[in-house]
Amino acid sequence: MTAADNSQWSSVIEEQWKRYSEGQEDALEELPKLMDFSLRVASKTCGCFIHRDDEEAGIAQLALWEAVQKYVPHKGSLLLYIGKVVRNRLIDFKRKQTAQRRFLSGEFYPRIHETDLDYQIETIIDDMARSQEIERLSNELQPMGIVFKELPEYSPRQAKTRKEALTAAKRIAEDRELLEFLNGKKMLPLILLETRYGINRKLLDRYRKFIITTALIISGDYNCLKVYLTLEEGRRGSEA
């Protein structure tokens, strides 16, 4: 998610909040996303992964509601305000939970400075955007029988081989016929790739799952994930 996407999401949420504050109680369509956001803030504050069942998650949800209720638009961004409230409530909760000295001195988890919080919130928003894309990709790959757990096994380790496999994926993404074949039949157009582009059949067979996944990323609306595949292209381009 780019900076523009971030600001867009932020403005969408603020618009929804306006409608909610005017009396439309079902206006907060982005609430699940806000829940994820508050959980991420809780994780960052506690320095560990927070499950939805954890006590900290409940505190974060309550803090989210509190922030939505108490938010005043002229004080700044809604997301930033939510982040601050969630963080402060969690710190209060931790202090109450235990009277140990190391908690009071803030030894257990580092204090987040105000300036850092902005950066943290931006990072969290980026992470959330990527997680949404990953979730979409996972749904798209499911009919083809591909799960992420398998990908490290079928991912080429040699840089040269990986480059060849990514080239094949790029060919599929650029060629409409090949892409339709892939989306329609949920399988690689082996013969077409072999005859039209002269790609090695062995490579296609061996790294089939990797090629399909990367082809879907390149051809689909996965802006955050594409960076990881186009970055190499850019490097290669600069080398050439």
Binding site: R40, S43, C48, F49, T123, D126, D127, M128, A129, R130, S131, Q132, E133, I134, E135, F148, K149, L151, P152, S155, P156, R157, A159, R162, A165, L166, F210, T214, C224, L225, Y228, L229, L231, E232
Partner: protein, 332 residues
Amino acid sequence: MRHKGTVFESGDNWAILLMPGGEFKKVKTKGRLHIGQMYAPVVRAAYRPVVAAAVLIITLALSVNFLTVAAWARLSPGVELGVNSWGRVVSIKIQGGLGQNLTVGMPMWGKRVEEVLPGLLERTMQQIGNAQQENIVIKVEAQGKYWPRGQSGLAHINQSLHKYNEDNSQGRLVNQDDPQSWLWQKYNQPAGEDGQEQSDESKKTGNNEQGTGKEKPKTDNQPGAENEKGGHNTNNNNSGVNSMHDNDNSNNNSTINGNDDKNNNPGNTDSSEKQSPSSSHGNNDNNGNGSSSNNDSNGSGNNGNNSDNNGNGSKHANKSQPSEKERQKNRD
């Protein structure tokens, strides 16, 4: 620089990342990660396997080096000790019943040859010497195997034999024509009545001889110091004491002193060993002319006493003289 990847899937201690360049990687993590989170996996240092391999190779090399026999020490009773270049006994071969008797209850493997070999020789003397009332012959052979490792092991063995010679009062190891072959010989017993007396005395004062031999520098130095300090009386006393000591040494340690000298100079030892047992006076001469400067400082009078004592074969007469002189001096 550590590359960050995006978390695609994560468990308690693992995560699947999409790394820059399109590589999917499964990595170990300290905790659970959020999906979509950026994470830089800890790259294992490349030198770790190299260091592990180097340590393994060094350990293997050292163990092989330790277990490789560099030199042998063969004792004629049937014990063969293999010594490595560090002077440790790493191989023990026993032949015959005597060899087995010698090594029973004696842990030798891995111990320093300087500790093992003298002990083994002592045991050999105890077991063989009592049975045969004659000179015990134990042949010790040290044989180098590899160069320079063999020489290192050989040096350890030779060192242990020299140490044995220094510590032992009953006999010594003589280097034969072959420099790696040592022959154990009891100290020569002179023939005749005088010789028998001497040998008896030497047997009685066997340990003391060694003691006087070691304490010799002290007795020599003490009077010297008194001479520097003292007047006339003390000089006389000192001369008496000196003469007594010298007489004792000359009577009792005639052969032993000579032997001690010869131990230090093996070349001389061979020649004196080949002489007849009646060469005790010759040893006296060697003693007087050789190492001890006290005999020279004492002058001819003392030497005269020595010769008289040798003729009389009695110590008491010699000891009474200085006491009379002392009395006279005291009266004066």
